[in-house]
Symmetry: C2
Subunit: 158 residues, 2 copies
DNA sequence: TAGAAATACTCAGTGCCCTGACTAATCGGG
DNA sequence: CCCGATTAGTCAGGGCACTGAGTATTTCTA
């Protein structure tokens, strides 16, 4: 009677998209290392020695989740975690040799997987796909913080 | 050195999009009822008396997850679950009056939330956004089953 | 019609994701 | 210098999502 069409609900579509991605990742990339775990490895390849909070910021994981992910990667021996001697609050992170190897291997497979995943779209459509999702996510993210005083909420015309 | 740009990785973008949505849902729609829970309520408004598996199919949740979601909705008194007398394997589901009320209330709020969420996109872009995501998800979903004999993998030209 | 196959559901285990409360360390202003 | 605010990380708790194994029920078939 008053039911709604979920295919026009971005949240529902986002969930389905992620599930589809999970499926493909699991079959084409790895059953051991998850996509968020790969994102963490990747962040540490780009910037070794980052502290835990910053890694979370780079890959979009909150303090609790990043702690769990890092603990799992540590258990697998893919990264090392040491207290910052300069600031006893921080944990500094660095890939092990194994971590680097795993990252390299998965980078290749991930590229292949992305091709398959995006195959239904033309090159132009893929660019559009990225930019539309990015814009929506960024805007919503901007609504999070109550806007620093003097700062505009989202982007300002240059 | 060999780090990758995650902003061109659809999986990463999908995760970020869902997080953004979660955030908005939590502040604009409900802190009690989640988006997947709403999807289940919605499916039962459209088709009362559905069995558990079919509801899962409608909203895109696997057998285990749908069981959990339904158990939570049952605990809150939003739906009733009875054994099918015709087929003792099935559980038939139906909203309670309370469930219907909650669905109506959230339908309104969800519409408002979607507007805010999609505000950064023009009308044309929103349509594109839906269709691109849909196409990618459907295609990946199509790779799941090993293709019924005689049936084409994805869509067939009409 | 009896046994095999399929189907609906449950349960255990793993991982992601968030909030809110807490601890420990650092930093800043009086 | 010290006390209050800020910051990094941990922990408990709730919810989503998947796989693999197990149970009960139905259905198909030899």
């Amino acid at each position: 009677m008053a039911a709604v069409d979920l295919s026009t609900h971005p949240g529902h579509l986002a969930r389905r998209l992620q599930q589809a991605h999970y499926l493909l990742w699991n079959t084409m990339v790895s059953e051991e290392i998850t996509s968020p775990q790969f994102a963490v490895l990747n962040a540490l390849v780009a910037e070794p020695g980052l502290d835990q909070r910053t890694v979370g910021e780079r890959v979009g994981l909150d303090r609790s989740t990043i702690a769990e992910v890092i603990s799992r990667l540590g258990r697998r021996g893919l990264l090392d975690k040491v207290r910052d001697p300069q600031d006893g609050r921080r944990s500094l992170l660095r890939l092990t040799d194994d971590g680097g190897r795993v990252h390299r291997k998965l980078t290749v497979r991930t590229a292949r997987m992305n091709q398959v995943f995006l195959a239904p779209l033309s090159g132009d459509e893929q660019a559009l796909f990225f930019s539309l999702i990015q814009r929506v996510s960024d805007a919503a993210e901007g609504l999070r913080n109550p806007v620093a005083p003097g700062e505009p909420a989202v982007s300002r015309a240059p």
